[in-house]
């Protein structure tokens, strides 16, 4: 090959690199063979206590739900996992049709007209939704309810920095909007697990001429009214609950849906149905003029991915669960969470400080700092809830899903009761 290229050695091919920088020393561990690597990684993995080995009551934006075996079976197939972005549609119909399915499923779940092929995660999808609202309304201020996930609020602020967009945090019972607000963002159920008054909030948003951006929890959509039914203009959500492993925070997929009239302002990939020259139904990337590779600096977003393999997992999950399964999962979460809350509420020293309807998460007030309670729980082989004592005195955000058996919940209650005595 070197002969064909016409050089004496491969080195010559790198001649444009300044010689004083060439061939640097790279201090990296020596290479491991396959069995050695497998052992090393297994060792590292074993240093982590996973939700597979112990009951988990932690939620707050990532959830332990049942993942049907069929999901990973599909997602592992090389033809899906090692395919490229479907820019050549004739040989990418597997990916393209899957995306069309995903878009359709997200529309049905959220009750909206159109959905994109997926975004990085719920938080960045929310940030992009706020930027979209700014583009559509021509207004500059973004309003978020204080009960929106604090990590999501931080991401919105980071994205808003670019154009110095003011971000206002408003209290649910004192929502003050004016004609400077492009959108009102409501998470439902909210960060602490409780349902918001989504009808009243819709009226406030629209009365001020702002877009209503709703962030539902994906599994809760198996039970609760879809945001499209109560006037949402843009819906974003975290898709991780839909058959995606917890994976220490990623990769996940952001769901993004909107009304038909806003489609040209929507970021992200879109797949449309069409026909080929023989009249066969097929699928293509469409409305690409919104995207970076065509519109470049005037694109709706710089996004280049749709987290496709994760979106595919969610697609298979929703097909597998189907109409009955998703509702069943949601109801199981609801009943189990309420069972846990009822039992904890009567423990001496514990209380439920918040009123309202909740879905799968709720806040308990602990008699000791939640940090200490969690340490005690961990010693008993239980992963406790999130410490939210900064918001609510002694508060711990507990999550109960269909994966927590009655026995596990009873163990939690017992452990909470005992930990009070230390």
């Amino acid at each position: 090959m070197l002969e064909r290229i016409g050089v004496a050695s491969v080195d010559v091919l790198f001649d444009d690199i300044p010689s004083n920088c060439r061939n640097p020393k790279l201090s990296l561990p020596p290479p491991l063979s396959e069995p050695e690597l497998a052992q090393e990684l297994a060792r590292m993995a074993a240093r982590n206590r996973s939700v597979a080995e112990m009951p988990c009551f932690l939620g707050a934006g990532a959830y332990r739900h049942f993942i049907p075996s069929v999901v990973d079976h599909v997602v592992r197939q090389g033809a899906f996992a090692t395919a490229y972005t479907p820019y050549q549609p004739e040989i990418s119909q597997g990916t393209l049709q899957s995306i069309f399915e995903f878009q359709s499923l997200v529309c049905e779940l959220t009750g909206m007209d159109v959905a994109n092929a997926g975004m990085y995660d719920g938080a960045s999808a929310l940030a992009e939704a706020c930027l979209m609202a700014v583009r559509i309304t021509g207004r500059r201020r973004v309003a978020l309810l204080s009960t929106v996930n604090p990590n999501y609020q931080r991401v919105v602020r980071t994205y808003a920095e670019g154009h110095a967009l003011p971000v206002d945090v408003v209290e649910p019972d004192a929502v003050m909007l004016n004609d400077g607000h492009a959108c009102l963002v409501v998470q439902h159920p909210n960060f602490l697990g409780y349902l918001e008054d989504v009808d009243a909030l819709e009226k406030r948003a629209h009365a001020a001429g702002a877009l209503y951006v709703v962030v539902p929890e994906a599994i809760s959509l198996g039970m609760f009214k879809s945001p499209g039914e109560y006037g949402a203009d843009i819906v974003v959500a975290e898709g991780q609950s839909l058959g995606i492993p917890l994976s220490f925070g990623g990769p996940y997929v952001g769901l993004f849906a909107t009304r038909g009239e806003h489609i040209r302002q929507m970021p992200g990939r879109l797949v449309g149905q069409t026909k080929d020259v023989d009249g066969r139904t097929g699928y293509v990337l469409t409305l690409q003029t919104r995207e970076q590779h065509i519109r470049r600096e005037r694109a709706t977003s710089n996004i280049c991915t749709n987290e496709q393999l994760v979106a595919l997992a969610a697609t298979v999950y929703l097909c597998a669960m189907g109409k009955q399964g998703l509702r069943r999962v949601a109801e199981l979460c609801y009943h189990k969470a309420h069972y846990a809350a009822d039992r904890i509420a009567v423990l001496p020293g514990y209380s439920l400080p918040l009123a309202g309807t909740f879905f799968q998460e709720f806040v308990v007030r602990c008699p000791r700092p939640p940090r200490e309670v969690n340490a005690a729980l961990l010693e008993r082989g239980i992963i406790g809830g999130l410490d939210v004592s900064e918001r609510i005195d002694g508060g711990m955000l507990l999550c109960v899903t269909e994966m927590n058996s009655r026995e596990e919940i009873d163990r939690l209650v017992e452990a909470l009761s005992e930990s009070r005595l230390w």
Partner: protein, 132 residues
């Protein structure tokens, strides 16, 4: 292509304008539609909107490209061609006739004088064509 209709004037950005009973009818040229390919969407101003000569009045999209449309003359938008909204391909088929984009009430008809004559536009297109 180097044979543009004589009854109108042209811009360097490949728009045309024709006066008809006091109304200015605006469109894009055959060269423009050929360069862009299959047209899929037009973003045009509403009736009542003001347009200014040589300022951007809207956008046209093909499958793989976006291009700005500039106003050949100033004035107020009277009408937008509904056919173009419903079936953008009419502009590919008949850019100088059925594919007209909008009608404008001209603010100053003398603005037409600063535009390219059909012959000058044809010369421009011929050079551009050779470069491709």
């Amino acid at each position: 292509m180097a044979d543009s209709p004589k009854d109108r004037r042209y811009t360097k950005e490949h728009e045309w304008v024709r006066l008809d009973r006091g109304e200015a009818i605006i469109g894009i040229t055959d060269f423009a539609q050929d360069q862009l390919g299959d047209l899929v969407y037009f973003d045009l101003p509403e009736p009542g909107a003001q347009v200014r000569q040589h300022a951007k009045l809207g956008e046209v999209e093909s499958v793989k490209a976006v291009s700005e449309i500039y106003a050949p003359i100033s004035g107020e938008v009277i009408e937008v061609n509904q056919q173009v909204t419903d079936s953008p391909e009419v502009v590919n088929k008949d850019p100088f006739g059925e594919g007209w984009l909008l009608k404008v009430k001209p603010a100053d008809a003398s603005e037409m004088d600063s535009l390219l004559s059909p012959e000058d536009y044809d010369a421009l297109v011929t050079i551009a064509g050779e470069q491709h």
